[in-house]
């Protein structure tokens, strides 16, 4: 009746749907907000009330739930009215207010911003209205901190003085208390005077309890730092009748000055400070001292002193207190032998490697406890669920001395029966076959029964169901063991529950990134099952775009159990990044050179609503250099030049280029720099398309063009080949194709897996190259951990490079660089068919053949007459290495390398290789393996030009050799 009366009085409130509307055809549905029509494709897609369909309340409810799921609205009101024999529907969207307001009214006492800051610190900027009582209490406490001891704070809803606020706090601050009389009490008059000077309180000043507490704590801390560890400060307050003033009594107890010591120097000063942290804790209470006793005993017992005992004594001497520790080590217990008794199916040779205790080592009870657990775990994993292991310590007769007590560790084992799984049963599955579910299970028929495996298998099957969309799936795993405990039946009872599908996918929070870009990364599509893995992968893919600060995927429950909306909420990262800076470089060459430099970079992402990015980097420096050269009269003169060095790089990146799965990168660079004997200018451009296939494959195609020029040439002729190799003075334009398959488990320090790569490069004049050539490079590496010893890794690799230059005409010049002219005055040319120096193959050094220094492996015709390597057109490198972890991050390696560089492909021969062997040290630093390799050459040493090879080579670098 009450509802009917309410509906008669205000139908817009009660929402009762007149019967004449239900079932009628919907003529039109309009979205509105603030009286204005809303046209938004995503919102319209969420409306279930569709023109042409019968008007139904379930569609109304679904529509409201969908729209509210956007998180933008506080209310969605659906109104309907008859238009002839049809129904028009209006959907009014009421936006969320901007944050929830807390309003203050009344006599605040303190500035409003102070009270608001106190509220925000505890409850956030938009606290929920139902926290009003807690908020009021917090404000009251804040007022009391500043002396408003009689303040009252009421939380009032719907306050006319503060429309639109969720929480209205009416404050009556009352009087602000001032300090009346102050008295100081301490266990020493001098201390009382000291406290009075450190914590001065002026009568008539406002009382602030927070400030008072802080000063008292500082004063006590100061005394504690002087070893008065029991120093304490406190105060009591007596308020006047109306709270207008307070009389304070400051109490300070200094306590005695404490000295902590240990008899007979049984501990070093740093050990004493660590085990008895009286100074650090500022306390010498009984709990701390008893804990210190235990810490000392634990430390000594961990060293093998099983009978270690620590005790302390308090000695009060006037105003001093001495805490004296007495430590008795006792004999050092050492493991003389380890025996296993009662083993049967599992032998001592299987159990011994599990023991951390070893012969000759100190005996530590905690390690024996851990070893016992390891032995039991080994039995349980083999199906011996009832196995027991009882360790015993037996002294070696007649071997004990005052300082040492050898013991024998005896592990007494009762194996019990081994339980074998006789059957694995799966019931209740409808959507998956039993074979699908049981494939890959650790629990198998005729295998040992191990309860953790059964639970892990249960979890694995449950994840399978969750990934298929069965979000309410439940699996009960039960084990029935036979009476003789030798066999067991394992049963997995499955309740699949409903399969949940994605209904709508809603995207909110994006401003610059287009919705299409976001939806492309989502693996959740309307109508498809809502799998757990799909949610995680979708979140990961969105985060990998690199354009969002935060990505959240949440599920919105529907009326129906089997459908959910997915709400994707993103927070975009700033689209534009700016960086700039400057510095000064100091370098000593012939003199001290000072080079000021500055850099600027700007980047922009989310270009045109998609995940495209563009970056620009520039750096400029001025280098003033003075060098000596000979003038026309062959006299040395100092010449000073000022060189401008710059580097400018522009790059563009577009993932999923042209709708494909490939990533496009374009980079252009200009650089000018100076070295001690020359200056150079370099220009380059590169276009790269790369794509991942499945999990392990990566394909990449690239076009690049590059040109270098050298000027201000003062190069030593001996250095010329190396410099021309680094700064090739021809324009090279080439296309290349690379395919790599990698299953390595780690990029920098792999222990498992393989990597195989093939690269082909072609440089031709029509694509901008001044020289033509073709190159190919094939490499493969394999990494395997030894099954019996996971700390040992075997690594092997092979590399093969082949190249050929296309014929070209090269001007003939004299050694002085002058052109050679023919009888007709034209410049003579020679036909050259060689790879440019920068494209030739080199071997030798820390990443190829380590018995040799950098680039110094090759047939004799790959060296010039001065013994400088000039490279070849073919190379072969073979590597084998054994890597062993020694202790924590330290390791050692032993290696054998072989290979050669050949002047032509036809010269390549396995019969003509150079070899080197050696060993090295490894340290796994946070930035990668740091290594030192010492190699030596196998076979006969050679002489190149004036240089005879050294037998040995030392290499220091970061990263593995291969």
């Amino acid at each position: 009746m009450a509802l009917a009366f309410l509906c008669w009085g205000a139908p817009e409130v009660c929402g009762q749907v007149p019967d004449q509307l239900l079932g009628r055809e919907v003529r039109e549905t309009r979205l509105r907000s603030g009286g204005q029509a809303v046209q938004d494709a995503q919102l319209e897609g969420l409306v279930e009330i569709r023109p042409g369909q019968p008007f139904a309340m379930d569609a109304v409810r679904e529509t409201i739930v969908h729209l509210m799921g956007m998180g933008r609205y506080i209310d969605v009101q659906v109104s309907a009215f008859a238009e002839g024999d049809r129904v028009r529907v209006d959907i009014d969207l009421v936006p969320l207010p901007e944050g929830r307001r807390v309003a203050f009214t009344g006599d605040l006492g303190l500035p409003e911003r102070t009270l608001r800051a106190a509220v925000e610190e505890r409850f956030g900027a938009s606290p929920a209205g139902n926290r009003a009582p807690d908020i009021a209490r917090a404000v009251k406490e804040r007022l009391a901190d500043d002396g408003y001891l009689r303040a009252s704070v009421d939380a009032r809803p719907n306050e006319p003085a503060a429309p639109g606020a969720d929480t209205v706090l009416h404050v009556t601050s009352g009087p602000r208390a001032v300090v009346g009389t102050v008295s100081y009490r301490a266990d020493d008059p001098a201390v009382a005077r000291d406290i009075q000077s450190r914590v001065p309180l002026r009568s008539g000043a406002y009382f602030n309890r927070v400030e008072l507490r802080r000063r008292l704590d500082n004063a006590a801390e100061r005394y504690r730092s002087q070893r008065y560890y029991e120093a304490r400060a406190d105060y009591t307050v007596e308020e006047s009748e109306r709270g207008e003033s307070v009389d304070l009594t400051i109490s300070f107890v200094r306590g005695p000055r404490v000295t902590v010591s240990v008899k007979d120097k049984a501990l070093t000063p740093s050990q004493l400070a660590e085990f008895v942290p009286a100074e650090r804790e500022g306390s010498i209470d009984e709990d701390l001292l008893e804990d210190s006793e235990a810490r000392i005993e634990d430390y000594l017992r961990a060293q093998g002193y099983r009978d270690a005992d620590a005790s302390y004594e308090r000695l009060a001497k006037g105003d001093r207190l001495e805490i004296d520790f007495t430590v008795k080590q006792g004999a050092l217990y050492r493991v003389a032998d380890i025996r296993f008794e009662g083993t049967g199916a599992v032998g001592a040779s299987d159990l011994a490697p599990l023991m951390s205790l070893a012969k000759g080592q100190p005996f530590v009870q905690s390690r024996l406890d851990a070893d016992t657990r390891a032995v039991l775990a080994a039995y349980r994993q083999r199906g011996y669920a009832d196995a027991s292991a009882r360790p015993a310590i037996e002294p070696v007769p007649g071997a004990r001395t005052a300082g040492e007590a050898p013991v024998v560790v005896v592990m007494r084992i009762e194996e019990g029966p081994q339980t074998i799984v006789s059957a694995v049963e799966v019931t209740g599955t409808r959507s998956l076959t039993e074979a699908d579910l049981t494939a890959g299970l650790a629990t198998r028929v005729d295998g040992p029964l191990y309860e953790p495996d059964v639970q892990a298998d249960r979890d694995r099957m449950l994840v399978t169901y969750l990934n298929l969309g069965y979000r309410a799936a439940q699996i009960d795993a039960s084990v029935t063991v036979s009476a003789d405990r030798r066999s067991a039946r394992v049963r997995f009872a499955i309740q699949e529950g409903p399969k949940v599908y994605v209904d709508h996918v809603l995207v909110v929070g994006n401003n610059r990134v287009s919705e299409a870009t976001i939806r492309r990364e989502l693996l959740l599509k309307p109508g498809e099952p809502l799998g757990l893995q799909a949610i995680e992968d979708s979140q990961r893919r969105l985060a990998a775009l690199g354009v969002f600060r935060r990505v959240t995927l949440s599920e919105l429950q529907h009326e129906a159990d089997d459908r959910r909306d997915i709400l994707v909420t993103v927070e975009e990262a700033p689209a534009t990044t700016l960086g700039w800076g400057g510095g000064v470089e100091f370098q000593e060459v012939e003199n001290i050179e000072v080079a000021p430099r500055g850099f600027f970079e700007i980047g922009r992402r989310n270009l045109w609503g998609r995940n495209r990015s563009i970056n620009f980097f520039s750096r400029v420096s001025l280098r003033r250099r003075t060098f000596t050269e000979l003038d026309q009269t062959a006299q040395p003169v100092d010449v000073t030049t000022t060189n401008v060095e710059y580097r400018v790089i522009g790059s563009y990146r577009e993932p999923r280029f042209a709708g494909t799965a490939a990533d496009l990168q374009v980079a252009i660079g200009f650089e000018q720099g100076s070295r001690t004997s020359f200056s150079y200018r370099s220009e380059s451009a590169r276009v790269n398309l790369s794509q991942r296939y499945r999990e392990h494959w990566n394909l990449q195609g690239q076009y690049s063009i590059e040109r270098n020029d050298i000027f201000d040439d003062r190069i030593n002729p001996l250095d010329r080949p190396l410099i021309y190799r680094l700064f090739e003075q021809v324009r090279i334009g080439s296309v290349s194709l690379t395919g790599v398959r990698s299953t390595r488990d780690d990029l920098f320090n792999p222990k498992r897996g393989t990597i195989v790569g093939l690269n082909g490069e072609l440089a031709l004049r029509p694509i901008g190259s001044e020289v033509g050539f073709a190159k190919t490079f094939l490499q493969g590496f394999v990494y395997r951990q030894l099954p019996s010893s996971p700390r040992v890794v075997f690594a092997a690799g092979a590399r093969l490079g082949l190249g050929a230059g296309f014929p070209r005409e090269v001007p003939r010049i004299t050694p002085d660089g002058e052109p050679i002219l023919g009888p007709d005055g034209t410049q003579l040319t020679s036909t050259v068919q060689d790879l440019p120096a920068s494209e030739r193959y080199f071997a030798g050094g820390d990443t190829t053949i380590r018995g040799f220094q950098l680039d110094h492996v090759g047939e004799p015709d790959t060296f010039d007459r001065d013994g400088t390597p000039i490279g070849g057109r073919a190379e072969l490198v073979l590597n084998g290495e054994v890597r062993m972890e020694l202790w924590k991050d330290l390791g050692v390696v032993g290696f054998l390398d072989a290979g050669n560089v050949y002047s032509s492909v036809s010269n390549l021969s396995l019969g003509r290789v150079r070899a080197g062997a050696g060993f090295g040290l490894r340290y796994n630093s946070p930035v990668g393996p740091f290594r030192v390799d010492f190699g030596f050459k196998l076979g006969t040493l050679r002489t190149y030009g004036p240089n005879r090879e050294d037998r040995f080579a030392l290499h220091i670098s970061i990263g593995q050799a291969f």
């Binding site: 009450a2 509802l3 309410l6 205000a10 139908p11 817009e12 409130v13 009660c14 929402g15 009762q16 749907v17 007149p18 019967d19 509307l21 239900l22 509105r32 603030g34 009286g35 139904a56 309340m57 379930d58 569609a59 109304v60 409810r61 409201i64 739930v65 509210m68 506080i74 209310d75 969605v76 009101q77 659906v78 109104s79 309907a80 009215f81 008859a82 028009r88 209006d90 009014d92 009421v94 207010p97 929920a128 209205g129 139902n130 926290r131 009582p133 807690d134 719907n158 429309p163 639109g164 429950q557 009326e559 129906a560 159990d561």
Partner: protein, 203 residues
């Protein structure tokens, strides 16, 4: 909250449904509140605004269900569920009227089952949680008896403490349980994020 009234419907139009409250992200609709009243899940009694009363009830139920979801699963006895659904059907004169009522609320059979199951789940969870409220001590019983002696009169005769003990214990246990429940609900409400969008009509 006054903005909820800002979107005035077109003349002649009826607001057929809207949001009345949001509890930790879950939306409670006006049709949910009507369902409570029309299906007999809540007797508004002398409540000035039955919709407000139903909304508060739904808020509490949502909080309880969220709390129940954090712990062990609460299974509703299928027989109890069937009995509750039958009782609901019997409120209507005919099957046609019953179906019309469901359609007016936007419910189908599955939706109704879900609604009833949630109601029973919440009730069961609360009962289980406060099943083992500490029994009152003898001192507490005697004190209650002394201050409420008039309640323990049968057929004009004042019952002795021992005669009234069973009733006393039941009364105190119930009151204690209600107090514990009420305090617990207060804590749930304080902890949760609740927005009451529906504004009760002014007095």
């Amino acid at each position: 909250m006054l903005t909820a009234w800002a979107a005035a419907p077109v003349r002649g139009a009826q607001v057929v449904d809207r949001v009345v409250a949001i509890v930790s992200g879950t939306v409670i609709l006006l049709s949910d509140a009507r369902a409570e009243l029309e299906l007999g899940l809540l007797d508004p009694g002398a409540a000035r605004d039955p919709i407000e009363a139903a909304m508060q009830r739904l808020i509490d139920r949502r909080l309880v269900l969220d709390e129940a979801g954090r712990g062990d699963r609460v299974d509703v006895d299928p027989a109890a569920l069937g009995q509750a659904l039958d009782g609901m059907r019997q409120r209507f004169a005919s099957d046609a009227e019953y179906r019309r009522a469901l359609a007016g609320l936007g419910l189908d059979e599955r939706g109704l089952q879900r609604l009833v199951r949630d109601t029973l789940t919440a009730r069961q969870y609360v009962e289980r949680r406060f099943d083992s409220v500490l029994p009152p001590t003898e001192e507490e019983l005697r004190e209650y008896y002394a201050s409420h002696a008039a309640r323990f009169v049968r057929n004009g005769r004042q019952l002795t403490f021992d005669d009234a003990l069973a009733d006393l214990t039941a009364i105190l246990q119930r009151e204690r349980r209600e107090q514990a429940e009420s305090a617990w609900m207060d804590r749930l409400r304080r902890r949760a994020d609740i927005r009451e969008v529906y504004q009760s009509r002014p007095k």
